[in-house]
């Protein structure tokens, strides 16, 4: 293994060693969402004609879990090691900012996809979605996880305390995931909130991801791909630059 691959391995091993909390817990949460929302809303909501609400919900929950866990991985690893002081072991190495970026984002993608697969494996019993375009599924899962992994790098570097990190998670990540159409089609929203939703990059991740299952979506998957890829580039650019300048880690 080269230097950055070791960091990627170490970051992956880190979450794997506490897998009960980092993989098991989010899968359980998704099952609870499925049980409650799926059961309560099954007969009330019909999004697409040929798709049951529970089947509609499965990809949304999977993607939500992918995104939240990808973010949690890089952000919590950085804030913990900053506060514990163990980040110094990485700071003293010859690894470049690109090495840091690919290692932290790579392990976030790994955790996101692992949790996403776990959520899919248990929620699929409630409502079986189709696999119309599997490549789109993989593409949006990877790009979405990478963007949230990069966003987690930004949040992890910026935060100095756990409550700042919690604020980032609760006031930015949670609203953006919940208002992205995980539980509904944004076409069911009033026109104003539809417009607001279109400004949320998370909406395009979930819409494009869902297109891979059903072949129908609120907007074209190509448009979603363009927006998600652009958002990934912008967020990555910021994250890499923060790592290059040693923002709050090399004083």
């Amino acid at each position: 293994m080269t230097g950055w691959q070791t960091l990627l391995y170490k970051e992956t091993l880190r979450f794997w060693k506490v897998g009960f909390q980092t993989v098991g817990a989010p899968v359980l949460t998704a099952v609870l969402y499925m049980l409650i929302f799926g059961h309560v809303l099954q007969d009330q909501v019909k999004v697409y004609d040929q798709v049951s609400y529970t089947a509609f919900l499965v990809p949304g929950l999977v993607m939500m879990s992918v995104l939240q866990n990808a973010f949690a991985n890089s952000s919590s690893s950085l804030i913990q090691s900053k506060i514990m002081g163990s980040l110094v072991f990485v700071l003293l190495t010859p690894l470049s900012h690109w090495h840091w970026f690919f290692a932290y984002v790579g392990s976030s993608v790994a955790r996101g996809l692992l949790v996403g697969t776990g959520v899919f494996a248990v929620t699929v019993f409630f409502g079986q979605p189709a696999f119309v375009a599997p490549l789109w599924i993989v593409l949006f899962a990877v790009l979405g996880a990478a963007m949230l992994g990069a966003l987690g790098v930004i949040a992890g570097l910026w935060s100095e305390k756990f409550d700042q990190m919690a604020a980032f998670q609760n006031f930015v990540i949670m609203p953006m995931t919940f208002l992205s159409g995980v539980f509904y089609s944004i076409h069911s929203l009033p026109p104003f909130w539809q417009k607001v939703s279109h400004l949320n990059p998370f909406f395009y991740m979930i819409d494009g991801f869902r297109y891979g299952f059903f072949g129908v979506s609120d907007v074209s998957p190509w448009l979603s791909l363009g927006i998600v890829a652009t958002a990934l580039l912008v967020v990555s650019g910021v994250a890499v630059n923060m790592l290059r300048t040693g923002y709050k880690i090399r004083h």
């Binding site: 391995y9 163990s86 072991f89 190495t93 090399r250």
Partner: protein, 321 residues
Amino acid sequence: MPAISFQSVSKTYSSTRNQTGPIVKALDDVSFDIQQGEFFGLLGPNGAGKTSLISILAGLSRASSGTVKVHGSDVLADYASARRKLGVVPQELVFDPFFSVREALRIQSGYFGIKHNDDWIDELLVSLGLADKANANMRQLSGGMKRRVLVAQALVHKPQVIVLDEPTAGVDVELRQTLWQFIAKLNKQGSTVLLTTHYLEEAEALCSRIAMLKQGRVVALAQTSELLKAASSNVLRFKIDSELPAHLAAQARITGRIVQFPAHNANEIEQYLAAIREAGLVAEDVEIRKADLEDVFLDVMNKKPANEAVAVAVDLEKVAT
């Protein structure tokens, strides 16, 4: 080529978060070289800038101006090469709670791109008395054991320059012995060692050359033997139960019951003893000893008028090598 070269290194920062407060100078135009194979001591009171200087050397912090090189590699422009040559034992007792000792050492080797490093890792574990803790989780280790792992982590990539930032703070005698034996061995094999410590006996015993920092400036830089020679005075040391008169206390170093006076000759010693007697006090356990590094250190840091000779003798301009 020097092992470490500091050239006009300054570090300033604002004392408040919003950058509007007064500017603090942590380091002020620090310049000196450390030659390959030296065992070099960096001394100074808390806040003198020792850790700031080491942080800049290690890339944990950036100088406001000046350059730092490790074996010719600039720590900023050529950071990867500089960090490969450098092994740093940080002052804080930090550890990664997710891993065992061996995992932590393997991972640290991996960061430097070193594969199959188990032979060297085993040697480090044995030399530092960690062999039976190899598979223990970092969280289960005592403070002293964690400190040993920190040393091992700094050495996994066989650095040419070893930097120890107060490695023996709060460490038991056994570890100090083990640590110094091992570091001295590496030094004999050619590694350069830069050490900061508050234990001046350690510095005196180990370091061939010493720099003293005070408020971010180098105030002394010389061979350890020359520093000691410059402090040619003796020290009158005794125990006393009552308080010294103020004019005597001002010249003395007082630690609990122990009182020490720097004295250049027998006359001065007699004068001190006479003054004690006149004050109606009784000195017990009286002894006269040679001044040690601690006396030199206090002289340099305090620059007491009575000891100007010593302070001047070790002044940077006169004894810089």
